[in-house]
Symmetry: C2
Subunit: 342 residues, 2 copies
């Protein structure tokens, strides 16, 4: 049988109340006594039964997810997964999840949303970060209030948040470059790059990683300046169409951000574009179709459901003072070809 607090009390030769004071770091216990209790805990290998503890504590967790609004399908999936994970968590643990939408690429709006949070009733925050000064300040305020903060998908400097949940975007960019470079197969030419905005870290980092590898390993390829599509299918389509019309020797295309629908529309509009090696992000239904039809050659994905669940687990672990299981929370760079579509 597992040892209980009673066993610890007996082993340490103190009362149950004292063990309780030590375990819950309440004041009013002499150093020497604390040491005795801790020794007993160690000797018995006592581990607090979290289920029973939470039952007694009647603790509940109120988590807020701040996610960009708009048609970005990945963000919508993330939102939906967060809500669903919350619904499920409500049954087992006492978790509730609320989603607060904010306009995309708008640091000021995000900062306002952060400042509007009631730090007394909210127990943790997960957000897709736009990396700007007001956001960083707002995060510092949350940190000061003792709220755990998790960044999703796109990060901010490490000391502003408790944890980052998302892929390594530099590595994702490198991967995209490697795939395009190898799939192009020795031909020389230019590569078109489309991002949402250079105001979000994830896009900046992907671009960086991409550049690195192209320069180092595929010097016969050349990256064109990054187009900005604001993660909007319309705009993305327009800027890409203009670029392709103007540049004759494009052999590859890397869509760093969202707006795959716009890309697909342009590509399927001109048979010549089928030759292009295309890599995009996020396995949305559109991207999946494009892969199946050979319009896209690879898609780099990340598991929105995993990220939502992971964020919740991490916030909860921070509050409970439990360690985070790194292996479980690491978000992988997924590569999809036509052949491993789930």
């Amino acid at each position: 049988m597992r040892p209980t607090v009673r066993d610890v009390a007996e082993e340490a030769g103190v009362s149950l109340a004292t063990v309780d004071r030590v375990l819950n770091r309440r004041a009013g216990v002499r150093e020497a006594t604390i040491a005795r209790v801790e020794a007993a805990v160690a000797r018995l290998g006592f581990v607090r039964d979290l289920a029973a503890a939470n039952l007694a504590k009647q603790r509940s967790y109120r988590f807020v997810f701040i996610i960009p609004s708009g048609p970005n399908i990945f963000m919508r999936t993330l939102e939906q997964q967060a809500v669903e994970a919350g619904r499920r968590g409500a049954a087992l643990d006492r978790i509730s999840v609320e989603v607060v939408p904010v306009p995309p690429f708008d640091g000021a709006a995000l900062a306002r949303a952060l400042d509007a949070l009631d730090t007394d009733t909210v127990s943790g925050v997960a957000l897709v970060a736009t990396d700007s000064a007001p956001v960083r300040e707002a995060l510092s305020r949350l940190h000061a209030a003792g709220l755990p903060v998790v960044t999703l998908v796109s990060d901010v400097p490490a000391f502003r948040r408790s944890h980052y949940v998302g892929i390594d975007n530099v590595a994702a960019g490198r991967t995209a470059a490697s795939l395009i470079g190898r799939f192009v197969g020795g031909r020389r030419g230019k590569i078109a790059l489309v991002a949402g905005s250079m105001l979000v870290r994830d896009h900046v980092e992907r671009r960086m990683g991409f550049d690195q590898v192209i320069r180092a390993e595929f010097p016969h390829l050349e990256c064109l300046p990054v187009l900005e599509g604001r993660d909007d299918a319309e705009i993305t389509g327009q800027v890409l169409a203009a670029c392709l019309a103007q540049q004759p020797d494009v052999v590859g295309l890397y869509n760093i951000g969202a707006g795959n629908r716009g890309i697909i529309k342009v590509l399927s509009g001109n048979p010549a574009y089928r030759q292009l090696v295309v890599v995009a992000h996020e396995l949305t239904p559109h991207a999946r179709n494009a892969l199946r039809e050979g319009l896209f050659d690879a898609v780099i994905g990340q598991d929105a459901g995993h990220e939502a669940r992971s964020a919740i687990r991490i916030l909860k672990a921070h509050i409970d003072g439990m360690p985070v299981v790194e292996g479980q929370e690491h978000i992988r760079i997924e590569i999809y070809l036509r052949d491993n579509l789930p």
Copy 2:
């Protein structure tokens, strides 16, 4: 506040004891009363608090993982992850995990191990299945005894087990073929295939998927007969070396099973072999090095930690009568290039 059994009792106009009988499907309640209680449950949206229930029940879960012994690093990782997940589970839920080693590729031994399980004290079984008649029969016996059974990595026919935790091996084979086909870049030639044994389903399925895609999409490539390395580095190395020495026009290599060490030794022994496009399975330290050095071109992986945790969650869900969260338990086919190594 969440409704409790008391609320349900009041709402249904019956006593707590009756509610308890209905909820736990105990005998001695009239149909009409059962219906009334169930209506009340539905009306209030009552969900039993599993933590409290397990606390009261003093229920504990004893899970047995049956994993092939031997030097196969992936299997060793799986074992270690299972033990670790069990250690962690001991604190929260009351989970214990034991690992039973069996000789690899030995259906009779596996069947004996299954039959040796004490179905009274074991609450669930996870196994890496060798697919043979005695194993299928032993699984049927476990099923009859009411034990949930999860297959890991390699499957058996669906009605013999409760759930399969692992990648879609046919798709994995297709993915390998697609990568090799595209990386070869139009050259024509032969592809060497090395598996552990054609007695395990995962290897058979990978091979099938691989063949499919090569035939359909890369007709200029030809698959050589499958070599069997018994997931052993020594043997794998020997059969591969012999094959390569004999076949002059091999352009690609797919290692379906383990024994990457043997492959690497052969490849690094002859500079000419550096030209080969090589795809292997499982991101072991050796495979990782080989990727980094360009000896391997891609590695197809699966997350052993995820699989171990997933198996435990699924077994527990079966016992608790809770639904399985498919999205969470789906094991992805991971593709690793030099650039997205974690």
